[in-house]
Symmetry: C2
Subunit: 438 residues, 2 copies
Amino acid sequence: MNEIARNSTRLDSYVDRYAARTKGMTASEIRALFAVASRPEVVSLAGGMPNISGLPLDIVGNAISDLIAHQGPTALQYGSGQGDPVLREQITDVMRLEGIDAHPDDIVITVGSQQAVDLVTRIFCDPGDVVLCEAPSYVGALGVFKSFQCDVVHVEMDADGLVPEALRQAITAVKAAGKRIKFLYTIPNFHNPAGVTLSLARRREVLEICREADILVLEDNPYGLLGFDQEPMRAMRADEAEGVIYLGSFSKTFAPGFRVGWALAPHAVREKLVLAQESATLCPSSFSQMAISAYLREHDWQGQIKGFREMYRERRDAMVDALATHMPAACTWNVPSGGFYVWLTLPPGIDAKAMLPRAVTARVAYVPGTAFFADGFGSGSMRLSFCYPTPDRIREGVRRLAGVLEQELELRETFGAMSPAPGLNPRSGYDGPSTDMT
Amino acid sequence: MNEIARNSTRLDSYVDRYAARTKGMTASEIRALFAVASRPEVVSLAGGMPNISGLPLDIVGNAISDLIAHQGPTALQYGSGQGDPVLREQITDVMRLEGIDAHPDDIVITVGSQQAVDLVTRIFCDPGDVVLCEAPSYVGALGVFKSFQCDVVHVEMDADGLVPEALRQAITAVKAAGKRIKFLYTIPNFHNPAGVTLSLARRREVLEICREADILVLEDNPYGLLGFDQEPMRAMRADEAEGVIYLGSFSKTFAPGFRVGWALAPHAVREKLVLAQESATLCPSSFSQMAISAYLREHDWQGQIKGFREMYRERRDAMVDALATHMPAACTWNVPSGGFYVWLTLPPGIDAKAMLPRAVTARVAYVPGTAFFADGFGSGSMRLSFCYPTPDRIREGVRRLAGVLEQELELRETFGAMSPAPGLNPRSGYDGPSTDMT
């Protein structure tokens, strides 16, 4: 009996007592597979863990040692619900790299930007409210929206990101159905999972559409400073202060282990976010915030990010080269200009989720596309991460994946299009968030 | 124009778009006063900040330095949503001091125990569900319950804690009204804010009542190891594993700046809590957890707690001595056997919230009793904290407070019972949580 089946038959004496919102909190169907995928012999192209091996541990260690010696009683104490004023000031410098001119008073520190998505949804969304998301969208955000009983409406993307005309149509359709749109959730830079970037012209157009329709934009930007080919693009928030909540994070540009992200919000919204933060955690960790503050002060953090960009570019190159070399002709993928992810579309009739157990057996893992849709779509696609494994491992992983795909295609040739594996319904394939899939 | 008035008249273009739950998230009416109360010349008997000046900063600094040097790549990376297995194992040792025999697999690490209250409420409570709380109860928990649109029903306490007969009556009344009780929220040891401790006989009785009525117990225990006169009392969870969720915290026994607490829950509930944690934050901070783990491993933490107990006992003594010396005859208070708080009941006709501005002018601050009720009661009481100021400052603060009270009593003598200050309605005096009031 496998673990999934055991879990579902385990007696839960509280089963009648949970809140309705827990129906939206479900364990990933593929979680058991990821436990296998974490074995060293498996090349995981599934995870979104940054590669932090290049961090200067001596500098980080010394900065934190000094912090405890000189500011210990503050670092170890409760802080403000809004977050450390010194760090908030430094964050304005970080955001200035993307053209944002912000006041520290409009920033709220969060437990990673994941918590920022949670708090924004908490203050805006009643059950049944609509959140517009790209198709596909970040699995962790979809999990939050689902846990607050929102209706997610996906909006088409292409190589230049969100398609403005599709956004217009979605807004019209939702309004015609009498539903309330609370915000557009978008990842404009180096999209997770799609790898694409919203063009500058489209940023203006999307802002204009949302302004006209009176729709708030939630601009989630964990990867904006990790472009490979150019300077950071101008944030949407840089051109629209009242209609945009901007989310940033140190998880990809420094280290996720501190769990420090932030929201930059219009002033009135910021006040609500602080109240929500106080209710959720009293305050974010003083220690984590001051450790990051010390790192920013005492290290060439922009030089460090430059190093990260070069390291990730090399891995991106390894992945797209290997894809070009090994993948069957009918596969397509994009070449991301930054971030962590390639979105791979499979030949017609191949189901990425159904194929996953066979891939893991062949010692390679990925995240099936269905994880990134709230409505079960995406079975013909997958997300491949190039952030964590070394270039050699990436090449080996892609080679293994191509082998599995070749076998699938042979089977399809022999027996016709595959049906999904038993119990895996491609129309209800949404998977809850997991740190394996950040 | 004062700050409160400015805030309430500030234009908020999002005012029609917030979720219904934000109605339960309101800024404390007394927050502006606390900004004044944080001035050095004011003796604050209001805050719940632990006094961590006795912590061995050299040991903490070295432990964290070693951590980064030897386990940096793990400490700086994402961790599991449930929390670090090594720390969870160590937490079983901490809980064993209160008679709890737990498996690390049933523990979920949270961002302080505040987040544990939030996650438990999130998975159990639909709008309108009833949560039973002591009268008074912890302001931060009341804020969570309100933000999830729960109905709080207060249950009477006396010097031995929650009154079993009152609990029976409350359950009967709520059930008769056709409402669902989701859990009893209780702080059995050194109650915040009431200072009382639930007797052993009553623990058994409360468990029995809740078992019979099929009501979950949420046992919140941040202060259990901080008793002044005896060894830690046996936790309710020690005698009932299936019907109790136990919450613990390192904020008072070590340091709050890491924001690390935990929930020990029945297995099925634990699974839901992990899903909720992943949705809220992906995972708690690896760095914070491993720092605490290193501290527990490398320091005589039980000896440290013994030191805290002696330090807090001395402050408790200073407070109750000063109260006996200075307070007008008609005041009553308890003598807590541990924790941080004394609950003071004023002479009839004196309103603690109305008096607060005058107290702050006289350079002493406290939290009015209304903050600890969801229903506006408590105006004749206040919480006095002895955790943070030195014994001399505590004595001086109580002396000032007594002076203010004497003046109030004279006014009452002259003009009759006071009405509350304009705009401060004693029936709607609930104050949102604030780190000033933890």
